[in-house]
Amino acid sequence: MASRRRYGLYGVLVVLFLAHNDLWYWRDARLVLGLPVGLLYHVVYCLVVAVVLAAAVYLGAPEPATPHRDHDDA
């Protein structure tokens, strides 16, 4: 289960990396909500990254901190 979650997280991060390269908006100068669509896409992208990382950190992906181990080390 833990390894499935881990690989799931890696997969989502790879998708996010690929999604950063938005060739489809390269020459699109349309204004959406007052912003060029190519810029708006990347603002939304930042928010999506935050949501994914929040899920990873707070909803039990294997990598985030485990406080009880910190105390074990002390």
Binding site: L13, P36, Y45, A50, A65, D70
Partner: protein, 492 residues
């Protein structure tokens, strides 16, 4: 008015730094990593503030003035993904090792990891050499912006000198705790002032839609990436944020965390903070073309200041100057302190091991080195005339080329000291080669496809690390057990 606001701001900063000294425990661990007691909010603000400098405020708007909105995605949103991922996978592991084995610097950790003093010395020289351009960004940006905002009342040299002196004062008294506290305040200041400045100027321009429609009518190329950025350049630029994994000042702040759990907020909120700072900077750079269409080259670094002077002089101008100082000092302090820590721990303490240095003596040495670093940077800033964006990109590229080192230290047991040394030598050599070949041009790319040199530098240093490690004897069990055993970096 502007000068008064800036001076008042600097006094507040000094007061916070001095206040933090009350909690000082008198030990070198407390001075250099705040006894590893920093909580989540301060960690987020200090990591973010340290990472954002004149590069984000002046450099981004200056570059957007020339290139357009693509600057946000090229640097900003790429860092929004890469940086927090590095915090999560690298930062927390380094924190655990630092806490368990008492490390204060990267050099100390890598020296132990591969049991090599030569590697430690080589890395010290490489990191100092790569951080100096980064320090210059701050000192030059401070002088430039204060001179522009005060219409020359504060000359460039005086602005740089004042900022260096204030940073030295609070780093001297507060160490890393003072730096973290001041950074928290400063990051709040420059984030909120960025938003306010943007709102005021856009309102004066008739609203965002009207202003952008004006840009679309006059300089539509600024609203797309178009030919200003090639897809290969865009893709290979994503290697540059890898530099975060090897920045000495980020490492130092990671070690100051109270627990691994403390990193959570930084991981999640970093992309949002980045958007909050970069969006106004980039948009104001683009909008600057409406009223100031003739800024050439590095003159575009002051486009933000020109716009504030034009649309909202007086109080907002003073507040913007304070915000720029905040962004600059929040990086300058950590960078200079990290160099002071490395000098004290990795050179003086390590090479004079027979000498019994008292805690007080170590702290004094660290402070003295911070002073020397700031003095040298100040002098260099008066001599050089270089684009802030160019300096930052080349500094980041060199640090990114060293990223395979930290990755191997944490994730590859078979890596050897010879491989690690080859990695550093190749990273530095390729950096020097491309820097000389490009003449310092940040837009320099390989061939017509637009491949950034950083990707070649990372590939070369990685190949050297892997190749040399595989043909040299595997490392002994002691370091492996220390780093990958039950209390090592196996899991966080």
């Amino acid at each position: 008015m502007v000068t008064t606001i800036v001076l008042a701001y600097l006094l507040v900063v000094l007061a916070i730094g001095t206040l933090s000294h009350r909690l000082f425990r008198g030990t070198s661990e407390d001075y250099f990593v705040a006894s590893r007691t920093i909580g989540p909010i301060v960690l987020l603000m200090t990591l973010f503030g340290t990472n954002m400098t004149a590069f984000a405020v002046l450099g981004a708007s200056g570059e957007a003035y020339h290139v357009g909105i693509g600057v946000f995605s090229l640097v900003g949103s790429a860092a929004a993904l890469i940086n927090p991922v590095i915090f999560l996978f690298v930062g927390t592991r380094l924190w655990r090792l630092g806490r368990r084995h008492g490390y204060l610097t990267q050099v100390g950790l890598f020296r132990d990891r591969w049991e090599s003093r030569s590697l430690g010395l080589l890395l010290f020289v490489a990191l100092v050499g790569l951080i100096i351009p980064y320090l210059l960004i701050g000192v030059m940006g401070a002088g430039l912006s204060l001179e522009a905002i005060t219409d020359g009342a504060i000359p460039r040299w005086a602005g740089s000198l004042v900022v260096c002196a204030v940073v030295l004062a609070y780093v001297w008294s507060g160490g890393l705790r003072g730096t973290a506290w001041v950074n928290t305040f400063q990051t709040s200041v420059f984030m909120s002032l960025g938003i306010v400045t943007f709102a005021v100027i856009v309102d004066k321009l008739g609203g965002l839609t009207t202003a952008m429609a004006l840009v679309a009518a006059t300089t539509p190329d600024l609203l797309i990436r178009g030919d200003a950025i090639t897809p290969w350049q865009f893709l290979t630029y994503t290697c540059i944020p890898l530099s975060v994994g090897m920045m000495p000042h980020m490492f130092m702040h990671w070690l100051s965390a109270r627990s691994a759990e403390t990193f959570r907020l930084s991981v999640v909120a970093f992309p949002i903070c980045l958007a909050v700072v970069w969006l106004p900077s980039v948009l104001l750079g683009v909008l600057g073309r409406i009223d100031f269409p003739d800024l050439e080259g590095t003159a575009a670094n002051s486009v933000l200041i020109e716009m504030v002077g034009h649309y909202a002089p007086g109080v907002l101008g003073g507040l913007l100057a304070a915000g720029v100082c905040a962004a600059i000092m929040s990086s300058l302090d950590s960078q200079s302190l990290s160099l002071g820590t490395m000098f004290t721990e990795d050179i003086v303490r390590h090479y004079a091991a027979g000498h019994r240095w008292s805690e007080r003596h170590q702290i004094r040495l660290g402070r003295a080195f911070v002073g020397v670093v700031l003095a040298v940077t100040f002098v260099l800033a008066q001599i050089l005339d270089q684009s802030i964006f160019a300096l930052a990109i080349w500094s980041f590229s060199g640090l990114a080329a060293l990223f395979p080192l930290v990755a191997a230290a944490l994730f590859w047991r078979r890596s050897t000291r010879q491989g690690a040394i080859a990695c550093v030598v190749c990273a530095v050599s390729s950096w020097v080669y491309f820097l000389l070949r490009s003449g310092g041009d940040p837009g320099y790319t390989l061939g017509e496809a637009g491949v950034m040199p950083v990707v070649v530098m990372v590939a070369i240093s990685t190949a050297a690390l892997i190749g040399v490690s595989l043909i040299t004897p595997p490392p002994g069990p002691r370091a492996i057990e220390k780093f990958f055993g039950s209390v090592g970096c196996r899991s966080v």
